[in-house]
C-alpha cells in the first residue's frame, strides 16, 4: 500500500519532505518500539498535555475577555469625552462688573462645542463669540456684547439695517451704561 506523501510547500513554492521517509507516519513505527510502558508514558504525556492545553485555553479565553472589556471601556471613555465636549450648557449672565455697565435683567447664554472651539451665543441679540475654553467664550461674548452695544447705541436708527436694529432693541432691554 503506498504511503501518503508527507510534504509541504516551502516559501519558495518548492515541495519539501517534513521528516525522514522512514518515520513518515507514526503508524509506521516498528512494532517492537510500542511497548506497554511506552503506551502508559504516552497516555500520561497526553493527559498532561491535555491538562496544560485546557489550562492555557482557559487563560487565553480569560485574557481575550479582558482584552474585549478593555476595548469596550476605552470606547466608552472616548464617547464620554466626546459627549462632554458636545454638551451644550446654559450660563447665566448676572453682571458685567468691573465694566461700567448695568445689567437691567439677567439672561442666559448658550455655550456649545463646535469644531475644536467653544461658541457662546446670546441668540436673542444674534451675538456669538468663540474661545478655547467655555470661560473664554463667555468672557469674549460679554466683551463683544458691550462693544456692539456701544457701537449700535452710538448710531441713529436710520443708519441701522434690520439685523443691527433688532440687536440694539434687544441689548437695550438688558444693558444700560452707567452714567
Amino acid at each position: 500500500m503506498p504511503r501518503p506523501n508527507h510534504h509541504f510547500l516551502n516559501f519558495m513554492g518548492k515541495s519539501e519532505t517534513i521528516w525522514p521517509r522512514e518515520f513518515e507516519c507514526p503508524a509506521n513505527l516498528p512494532e517492537e518500539l510500542i511497548s506497554q510502558a511506552s503506551v502508559e508514558s504516552t497516555q500520561k504525556v497526553q493527559a498532561l498535555f491535555l491538562a496544560a492545553f485546557q489550562e492555557l485555553s482557559a487563560k487565553w479565553e480569560a485574557s481575550a475577555r479582558l482584552d474585549a472589556l478593555y476595548r469596550q471601556v476605552l470606547l466608552l471613555s472616548n464617547r464620554c469625552d466626546m459627549l462632554e465636549h458636545l454638551k451644550t450648557i446654559s450660563v447665566p449672565i448676572e453682571t458685567f462688573a468691573p465694566e461700567p455697565y448695568n445689567l437691567i435683567k439677567p439672561f442666559h447664554v448658550v455655550v456649545r462645542f463646535e469644531q475644536d472651539q467653544y461658541i457662546a451665543s446670546f441668540y436673542d441679540a444674534n451675538l456669538s463669540d468663540s474661545g478655547d475654553t467655555q470661560e473664554e467664550a463667555v468672557s469674549n461674548l460679554k466683551d463683544i456684547l458691550l462693544s456692539t452695544y456701544d457701537i449700535l447705541t452710538g448710531m441713529s436708527e436710520d443708519e441701522l439695517g434690520p439685523g443691527p436694529l433688532q440687536q440694539r432693541k434687544v441689548l437695550e432691554e438688558f444693558v444700560r451704561k452707567e452714567s
Binding site: Q117, I151, P164
Partner: protein, 91 residues
C-alpha cells in the same frame, strides 16, 4: 482645526469690505455697511494665532458655516452674500 480661522475671518472682512473699529478688550469689530446702513457686525479676536477659531462669524453674518467658508476662500462674492441677506430679509 476650526473651519473658520482668524485668517479666514480676515479674508471675509476684506471680501465684505467691512470697516474695522477697535473694540474694548479682546476684539476688533468688523462693521459691514450696505447702501449707507449697517447690516452686520462681528468680532475679530485679537491674538497672533492664524488658526484661532472664529466659529461665531457665520451666524453674525446670517449664513451657514459652509457659506462663510466660501466667502473667505473666494467662490462667493459680496453680491452673492447680499443676495442671501435679501432672501432672509436682512437688508
Amino acid at each position: 482645526m476650526a473651519v473658520i480661522t482668524k485668517e479666514l475671518a480676515l479674508a471675509i472682512v476684506k471680501k465684505l469690505k467691512a470697516q474695522i473699529v477697535t473694540g474694548r478688550k479682546a476684539h476688533d469689530i468688523a462693521l459691514v455697511h450696505h447702501e449707507g446702513k449697517l447690516i452686520a457686525t462681528f468680532g475679530i479676536r485679537r491674538g497672533s494665532r492664524k488658526d484661532q477659531g472664529h466659529g461665531h462669524i457665520p451666524s453674525a453674518i446670517f449664513v451657514r458655516t459652509s457659506q462663510a467658508k466660501l466667502l473667505g476662500e473666494c467662490p462667493m462674492s459680496r453680491d452673492e452674500w447680499l443676495q442671501v441677506l435679501r432672501s432672509k430679509l436682512k437688508i
